[in-house]
Symmetry: C2
Subunit: 225 residues, 2 copies
C-alpha cells in the first residue's frame, strides 16, 4: 500500500436564512456505524475532480442548486475523527438564498432537513466541531465582505437585510443607523418596486449590485458591517 495516499471526503455546512433564522442543512446517514444519525452532507472525493467540484456536486445532489456561494472552510485530519478507517475531510461552507430552499427530488423530511442553528441535534463524528467552525467563519466574514447577500432573495427590503445581520451575529441593530450605513455604501440599488401583501407601509425592494462592489473594492473600498 502507498503510504502517501489517504482517504479523502468533502463535507459541507450549507447555511440558509428563513423565518428570520439562520438555518443549516443536515442529512441522515444511511449506512455503516452511523446509520440513522444526522450529519453534514458529504461524499468521497473522486479521482477525476477537484475538491471544489466534489463539494459542488454534493450540493447539487442535495438541493438541486448550482452556482452557489461555496468556499473551503478547513481540513479536519485528526487521527481518530472517524471510527475504524482513517478519513480526512475537507469542509466547505455554502450560502443559499432562502427562496431556493428546495430539497432535491427524492429527498424527504426523513433524509434531509433545514434546522435552526440554535437547534441542531448532535451530529456524527466531528461534524459538530465543523459546524461551529463554519459559524465562527460566517460571523467573521459577514462583517468584512458582503457575503450576507447570498442568503437573501434577489430583491429584499432593508429590514430583511437588517434581520439577517441580527440573526447571523446574534445582536440587535438600530434601524435608522443601519439603513443609513448600508445606503451610504452605494451597493444597494432600488428596483423601484415595493413589497406587496403586507399590512403596513410597503418598503422599497433593493438588490445588491455586485458590479459596483467589484469596482469599489478595486479602488480600495472595504466593506464593514
Amino acid at each position: 500500500m502507498d503510504t502517501h495516499k489517504h482517504a479523502l471526503t468533502v463535507d459541507s455546512v450549507i447555511f440558509g436564512f428563513d423565518d428570520g433564522e439562520l438555518k443549516v442543512l443536515i442529512v441522515k446517514h444511511g449506512s455503516g456505524e452511523s446509520r440513522g444519525r444526522w450529519g453534514l452532507p458529504g461524499d468521497w472525493l473522486k479521482s477525476g475532480e477537484t475538491l471544489e467540484q466534489a463539494a459542488s456536486r454534493v450540493l447539487q445532489n442535495r438541493t438541486g442548486l448550482r452556482d452557489i456561494f461555496l468556499q473551503q472552510l478547513h481540513v479536519f485530519s485528526a487521527l481518530e475523527r472517524h471510527p475504524g478507517e482513517r478519513i480526512i475531510t475537507v469542509a466547505f461552507f455554502a450560502l443559499v438564498r432562502s427562496d431556493a430552499h428546495v430539497l432535491a427530488a427524492g429527498e424527504s423530511e426523513m433524509d434531509a432537513r433545514w434546522v435552526s442553528v440554535r437547534d441542531v441535534p448532535q451530529l456524527i463524528f466531528d461534524h459538530d466541531e465543523i459546524l461551529q467552525t463554519a459559524l465562527a467563519r460566517l460571523k467573521h466574514k459577514v462583517r468584512h465582505e458582503p457575503i450576507g447577500f447570498n442568503l437573501l432573495p434577489e430583491k429584499f427590503t432593508l429590514l430583511e437585510l437588517q434581520k439577517l445581520y441580527e440573526a447571523v451575529l446574534d445582536i440587535t441593530l438600530d434601524k435608522p443607523n443601519f439603513r443609513r450605513k448600508m445606503m451610504k455604501m452605494n451597493l444597494l440599488v432600488s428596483t423601484n418596486e415595493k413589497q406587496s401583501g403586507v399590512s403596513y407601509r410597503a418598503a422599497t425592494l433593493y438588490r445588491f449590485d455586485m458590479a459596483v462592489y467589484n469596482r469599489l473594492t478595486e479602488q480600495g473600498f472595504v466593506f464593514e458591517v
Copy 2:
C-alpha cells in the same frame, strides 16, 4: 486500487521579518523533474500524523523551530497542478520571529534561502499561486488579529512594530497616530528597558501581552490595525 485514496502533501509559506522587509523561506528541490528549482518547503503527509503535525515537522526540519504560529491556508487540488501523478497539497502559512531566522543544521544557502517577498524567483508547480494566497491572507489577518507580533522578537520598539505593518501592508503610517492607537489597546506592556546601541534617543522596549489580549477578546474586544 482504492479510488477514494489520494496522494497528499503539505507545503508551507513561512514568513519572516528582517531588515524592514517581509521575507519568505524557499527551498531548492532535490529530486524529480523539479530538481534544482525553487519551491516552498513541504513533504508527504504520513499515515500516523495530522496535517498540522506534518507541517510542524517540516518547519522544524527546515528551521529548527518549534511552537511557531502555523495555520492552514488552503487546499490546492487542481487536477493538473502537479505533473504526472495527481497530488493534492494542503498549504499552511507560518510566522517566525526575526531573531530566529536560523536555518536548520545542514542547510546551506544553496538549499534554503530567505528572500524578500518583492523578489521571489519563479517557483515550481502552483507554488507562486500558493504564495500569493498566503500574502493576501496575511495582509487581511494582520489588520484584524494581532498576529503581526509573531514576526517580531520578544521585545520591540513601537517603530519596529510600525515598520512591520508598513512592510506587510505596503503602506506608510503616521507615527504619532500609530503609537497612540497601539497604546490605547493596552496590549503592549513596557519592559522598562531601552533600546541599546543606537545613535539617537533610545526607545522603550515593549512586549505583547497575550493574556491581556485573551481577556479583552472574551469581553468582545476586536483588534483593528
